[in-house]
């Protein structure tokens, strides 16, 4: 697949098959022996007193820096907080690293950092260390942000992809794809009334809320790059289970549906930044949905479908009653979405 003169293509950053190939050959081949094995959203590491730490990092290069519903600042907090949360952790501390381009407006930087502050306060995390670099004009695009996060593993969760089995239910905490479509619409200057707004938000309270039922939860993930399609396909890849979801059940906001339609994009493949997918024992599905629906960030939670025995396949039952595969996004669907 890879020759020595191969170059990085934009598609390698899309969160799809090309990204996975790159990470497998270049990263996992060198670092994949320990905590990186299986590429979890965050590493769970043994700590003193039998406790475990959850540790993660993420770089943010979204363009434009400000978009309907948020900016690169709150996105950088929520993304990292959410990676810790869906790994079963309570986020505690963040690092904040900034790369600024010569010529960036101080006012923009101020608004972004205000958003970091507000988002961190809302998530009860502290920014405890950081770094600031400036590069020459044209050497980065305005502002890049990297955050790392440390949290503590919550009691009761024992999440593992291997525990997912036929009959389990697949839940989502709210409408999908709003972040990706909002950023794309902003970038393309698609000005429509009631257009998509980014859903950037923390999901850690949704995780805390299901802690009493933690023993029934098998898997949690926030559907960022590659959207629901990427998460579900990753769940079944090389495994003896499949997933069936029903098109009628998949929630989308009207604005996101409209822009996706306009641009011919499958919204199942579009990123959210404030939603979570949860797979649980069927006995817990109703209870989790009830708890989530009582919370503002989970008010539109629904059951999407269930885990099946159709090995390796994610299948959508469409409005015609026919069935089709849910495809993994390949490459460059929407570069620089987060």
């Amino acid at each position: 697949m890879k020759s020595d003169d191969a170059l990085i293509q934009l598609g390698h950053g899309g969160g799809g098959l090309l990204s996975r190939e790159l990470i497998r050959t270049e990263i996992l081949s060198r670092f994949g022996a320990a905590a990186l094995r299986g590429l979890p959203d965050a590493a769970t590491l043994p700590w003193a007193g039998g406790r475990s730490l959850v540790f993660t990092t993420d770089g943010y290069v979204v363009q434009p820096l400000e978009f309907p519903g948020g900016n690169i600042g709150d996105l950088a907090v929520h993304g990292t907080v959410n990676d810790i949360a869906v790994s079963g952790g309570v986020p505690r501390w963040l690092s904040l690293s900034l790369i600024l381009e010569e010529g960036l407006s101080r006012a923009v930087l101020g608004r972004v950092l205000d958003s970091v502050r507000r988002a961190a306060d809302a998530c009860a995390v502290q920014v405890v260390t950081g770094d600031t670099k400036v590069v020459g004009r044209g050497q980065c695009d305005g502002l890049y942000v990297t955050t790392s996060g440390v949290g503590e593993l919550l009691d009761g969760f024992s999440l593992a992809i291997e525990k997912v089995r036929a009959g389990d239910r697949v839940l989502v905490s709210g409408p999908l794809g709003d972040h990706g479509m909002a950023v794309l619409a902003a970038r393309r200057n698609i000005a429509i009334q009631n257009g998509p707004r980014s859903d950037t938000a923390p999901v850690h309270r949704l995780v805390l809320a299901v802690q009493p039922m933690a023993g029934h939860v098998r898997f949690m993930r926030d559907p960022t790059r590659g959207g629901l399609a990427a998460v579900l396909n990753e769940l079944v890849e090389d495994r003896p289970v499949g997933i069936l979801i029903r098109e009628r059940q998949v929630p989308f906001s009207a604005g996101t549906r409209a822009v996706a339609e306009l641009l011919g994009i499958d919204p199942l493949q579009v990123a959210s930044e404030g939603r979570m997918i949860l797979v649980c024992d069927p006995c817990a599905a109703e209870g989790i949905l009830r708890v989530w629906r009582g919370m503002p960030e989970g008010s539109q939670a629904v059951e999407l479908g269930e885990v099946t025995e159709m090995s390796g396949r994610v299948v959508l039952e469409t409005c015609t009653g026919g069935r089709r595969l849910v495809d993994v996004p390949r490459g460059e669907l929407l570069p620089r979405i987060c």
Binding site: M1, L7, I8, Q9, G11, L17, L18, E21, R188, R248, A254, R257, A258, E261, L263, G264, D266, R313, V315, L316, E317, T318, C319, T320, G321, G322, R323, R324, L325, D327, R330, G331, E332
Partner: protein, 370 residues
């Protein structure tokens, strides 16, 4: 969006399905199997995306046609586009073209090596780029069927209005009706009816299909791209066949008129003239394309840069031509899903967003059908 949702209503879909089942059962009772060709790549994609093949009764078979513009664009054209980009021109294209294999490489690879290959959602992006970069030659990759041709010609109108001197088109426009003639004249393909394209028909008009219903006695039904449009179109086809009729029915009257879009047609006559065209995998179809008239040669990237579009070369094992003619289904190709995948495509049908192989690879391999 509420408007669109009306064309995706599951209850109505169920009612039309029952009607299709009854009609097909009646024909099957007479021992008839109906082969319907969906001509257009957008139909192919919609059919796959809504799982429509999955619910068709036995005796009704949908075969995919040649209506994917990227798929029928010859490899030599892609080679020429890459040559232009490598010589320093800014090449503007619809994103679909990026992963399509030319003779030896793709435009995506060409871009990764540093050439200026820009993706636009609209042909007008090329005007913006030409204005932003007056010192660069900007070439728009002008491929497509009737639907795409008119908007690309608007680009030319705009270029003239603004007096842009650095914008040109590399043309490989194709026409749908000549391809349908060629298919019906090929004894190795059995087509009982056409599910006619939606947006191509909006340009050329429903009347354009009259010869197929008349001369070849093949029912033609124009349908939209929503799932209910397609199901309703299939119902209409089965009704015609059941009654022994061959007519042009326009089930997409909310967009398509009998005479088509006269403004677009006038624009096409003004700038373009009929030419023989090479269809990738199929070969030359006489007067099946459109090229710029002599008086607009200054906008024609071929002569402007002294570039000839050569034949190009394609992998001889690739069956895209057979797929485009509806002779085989993608899974019948020995390369499908093994040597040819979206990540490493041998033929264009695997990577175009309207390609039949892409539709099968992405959506269809359910119930062991593929």
């Amino acid at each position: 969006m509420r408007y669109i949702e009306g064309f995706r209503n599951p209850e109505v879909a169920g009612a039309i399905r029952r009607r299709i089942d009854d009609l097909a059962a009646g024909l099957a009772g007479e021992g008839r199997v109906v082969n319907v060709m969906e001509v257009c790549g957008s139909h192919t994609m919609a059919i796959a995306r809504y799982g429509i093949r999955d619910i068709l009764p036995p005796g009704l078979s949908l075969i995919s046609g040649p209506g994917c513009p990227v798929c029928v664009t010859p490899s030599g054209y892609i080679d020429a586009a890459m040559t232009l980009a490598e010589r320093g021109a800014m090449v503007v294209t619809f994103g679909d073209m990026l992963p399509v294999p030319g003779s030896s490489a793709t435009l995506a690879e060409c871009r990764a090596r540093g050439a200026a290959v820009e993706v636009g959602y609209s042909p007008m992006c090329a005007v913006d780029l030409a204005r932003a970069h007056p010192d660069r030659e900007v070439v728009f990759l002008a491929i497509g069927f009737e639907t795409t041709i008119a908007p690309v010609l608007c680009l030319l109108e705009e270029a003239q209005r603004r007096g842009l001197k650095n914008l040109s088109l590399l043309t490989a426009f194709k026409l749908v009706p000549p391809a349908l003639h060629a298919l019906l004249g090929d004894p190795s393909v059995r087509i009982d009816a056409f599910l006619c394209p939606a947006h191509v028909s909006a340009i050329i008009g429903a009347e354009a299909y009259r010869p197929f219903a008349g001369r070849y006695r093949v029912p033609c039904v124009i349908a939209g791209f929503e799932p209910l449009d397609i199901l309703y179109g299939l119902q209409g086809i089965l009704e015609q066949i059941g009654r022994g009729e061959a007519r042009v029915d326009n089930e997409y009257a909310r967009v398509v008129t009998p005479e088509g879009n006269r403004t677009a047609q006038a624009l096409m006559r003004k700038y373009l003239q009929p030419v023989d065209a090479v269809w990738r995998g199929i070969g030359v179809i006489p007067v099946s394309g459109l090229g710029l008239r002599e008086e607009y040669a200054v906008y024609d990237a071929g002569p402007r840069f002294g570039l000839r579009i050569e034949a190009g070369s394609e992998n001889p094992a690739c069956s895209c031509g057979e797929v485009l003619k509806g002779k085989i289904r993608p899974p019948d190709c020995p390369l499908f899903g093994t040597a040819c995948t979206p990540d490493h495509a041998v033929g264009p049908c695997m990577v175009s967003s309207e390609g039949t192989c892409s539709a099968y690879f992405k959506y269809v391999s359910v119930k062991g059908k593929a």
